[in-house]
């Protein structure tokens, strides 16, 4: 933890420890500021605009910078630029803007620049359903930019998670030098809840490791045991080259197969090494569960209520809430699959995470899916009824 970022300046004092009525979008903005984010570039889009709006008046209060760019491509470009200069940076958008960001998301991957991209999912494709919730961008978040690349995708399900998971996103981004996509959906983003902003001292903030060698020894992309090279901010003596071309340990373009393979494999190894802390799940009533719901985002919220309804009927139901969608938390899911009779994956898409669940299910259990793509949230009652149906089939 860097002492300079943990001081009281990180959050305007009047908010520190205060109980506020916040919507998810506003809580994500506050979470970012608490994590040390001091640069935000964005472009207006429903249902994510409140993040830009809050950042536009909160960042100048804490000596940060907000800028409204000409489009989402430029927004992520500016975010990457600010991060290269050593400032924690974020942007936020929804489906159409997220599509535009794919180009520079790949740039952040190959240059290993920490940054956070929030995608408040709405119905798609194209302009789709601007004011309705959906979870249709899950696989785009993983595979949207071209080429093999590592990326970490997190999902939030409540206002309090909007705050805490954004802090986690910044921490993982800084630690692993990787862009983090945070998926919210319209329901989470616009739900208002009371939320107590935690005291600054109670929030763990991780900062990127900077080089401790003299500039002439610095190799910006040199491998080490973690696979994450120290990152020198621009303008502090460590002059080096940053390029979207595949590069050698000095940062210069290379076409040598041995250097290319070592570079690409390190990208994946650094994330694999961190599975223990990158793959975040929340397990509820799992120990004796016969039917396990696997859900994320606002659907996980509904699933919690459905669990209570099922338990009241004597059905042993449990929940795995996926906070990390990618890298897919295979070991957690597989371990639960070994002991339960059926798994239900409700999603506001045609089955993007259920594909992952089925992929890791090697005959361990039965996988059911429940999908809504009509712009309506999935309610607790719907999930409860699906659980009942699965019980009725006699599994």
């Amino acid at each position: 933890m860097n002492a300079t970022l943990t001081g009281g300046k990180r959050m305007a004092p009047e908010l520190n420890g205060r109980k506020l009525l916040l919507q998810g979008n506003e809580a994500m903005a506050e979470g970012a500021i608490a994590a040390g984010c001091r640069f935000f570039a964005g472009y207006p889009i429903t249902p994510a605009s409140e993040i830009s709006e809050r950042m536009s008046y909160r960042l100048p209060q804490v000596d940060g910078t907000f800028i409204q760019m000409e489009d989402e491509i430029a927004s992520l470009g500016a975010v990457i630029g600010a991060s290269l200069a050593g400032i924690k940076s974020m942007t936020a958008t929804s489906g159409p803007g997220f599509s535009l960001m794919q180009e520079n998301l790949g740039y952040a991957c190959i240059t290993e620049v920490p940054c956070v991209v929030i995608n408040v999912m709405r119905g798609g494709p194209s302009t789709g359903l601007p004011t309705s919730p959906a979870q249709g961008d899950v696989l785009q978040a993983r595979w949207g930019t071209h080429g093999d690349h590592p990326v970490i995708v997190l999902a939030v399900s409540s206002v309090s998670e909007c705050f805490s998971i954004i802090v986690t996103a910044f921490n993982l981004s800084e630690k692993y030098r990787v862009p983090i996509v945070v998926l919210a959906d319209e329901v989470v983003a616009h739900t208002r809840e009371t939320f107590t902003i935690p005291a600054v001292a109670s929030i763990e903030v991780v900062d990127r490791i900077i080089p401790n060698v003299p500039p002439e020894w610095y190799k910006p992309y040199e491998d080490n045991s973690r696979g994450v090279p120290p990152m020198a901010p621009m303008g502090e003596g460590y002059r080096h080259h940053v390029t979207g071309l595949v590069h050698d340990s000095q940062g210069f373009p290379t076409e040598k197969p041995d250097e290319i393979e070592a570079f690409m494999k390190r990208q994946f190894r650094k994330i694999t090494n961190g599975f223990f802390e990158v793959q975040i799940t929340k397990k509820i009533n799992i120990d004796d569960a016969e039917i396990v719901v696997i859900a994320y985002g606002s659907v996980a919220r509904s699933a919690r209520h459905a669990l209570a309804m099922a338990r009241a009927q004597g059905i042993k139901a449990g929940l795995i809430q996926l906070v990390t969608l990618f890298p897919f938390p295979k070991s957690t899911v597989v371990n639960v699959m070994r002991q339960c009779k059926a798994v239900l994956v409700p999603e506001m898409n045609m089955g993007q995470i259920s594909r992952e669940v089925k992929r890791v299910n090697t005959g361990l259990t039965e996988v059911f899916k429940y999908n809504r793509i009509d712009g309506q949230p999935i309610t607790p009652l719907e999930i409860f009824e699906e659980i009942q149906k699965i019980c009725g089939t006699g599994v």
């Binding site: 640069f39 008046y57 100048p60 000409e70 180009e103 520079n104 303008g235 002059r239 940053v242 390029t243």
Partner: protein, 276 residues
Amino acid sequence: MFSGMTGLRHKYLRHHKKFPHVWCPGCGNGIVLGSFIRAIERLGLEKDDIVFASGIGCSGRMPTYVDFNTLHTTHGRALAFATGIKLAKPSLNVIVVMGDGDAAAIGGNHFIHAARRNLDLTAIIINNQIYGMTGGQTSPTTPYGAHSTTSVFSNIEHAFSIAELAVAAGASFVARGTVYHAVQLDKLIEKGISKNGFSVVEVMSNCHVQFGRRNKMADPVTMLKWLKDHAVSKDNGSSMSPDSLEDKFTIGILADVDKPDYIEEYKKIREKAKGC
């Protein structure tokens, strides 16, 4: 130890790391790079305080060769990255080099908005009227009637005037030079960098390999002569008849206005926000 251009080469180029360069013999990019380095030397800027960013194309490779904080970004987006860097660390001198396709086609939107926003960046745009690296396709500055690999029968679109576009979009400083007029180019780039606000220096350049070969100017000397013959000094242009100016372009300083730059303005916003 070294004098003149040799000294500058040793001081500013990554001569032991990244040479030979990728440019064709006779390419105008080298002349632009030379002018840029001489401008930096004259301004006495520290290498650590300079960020040199580019997009994609032949011009995109330029930062690779110089010993600054260098950044080779995505196609057309260099100004967006530069915006983030400058806002995050205003003490840095952020200079962007782009090509005509880079700045006026795929990056056209970023270009006009950077000019409108008036953040203190310098954009050097090398206009060789063609997509060189990809093999000679029509660019937004390819002249009407010229030939390229995607307008084999002749180009039916009309060219952008990059410098005039920048003036209209509100850039604080706009100049146009050519690689033939290298001494003037040194000064234009120097003025562009020292100007507070968004500065644009358009450099008319030669791509004899991809443009010239298809337009009866297959060697660099012919192309440089073409640049010489078609460039009209801004001071002389006003006294010439419109007919004689028809296929010409003006060189010199086209706009130089003083207005507060984005960072000065944003400081006021911070004060207002803290008063809330």
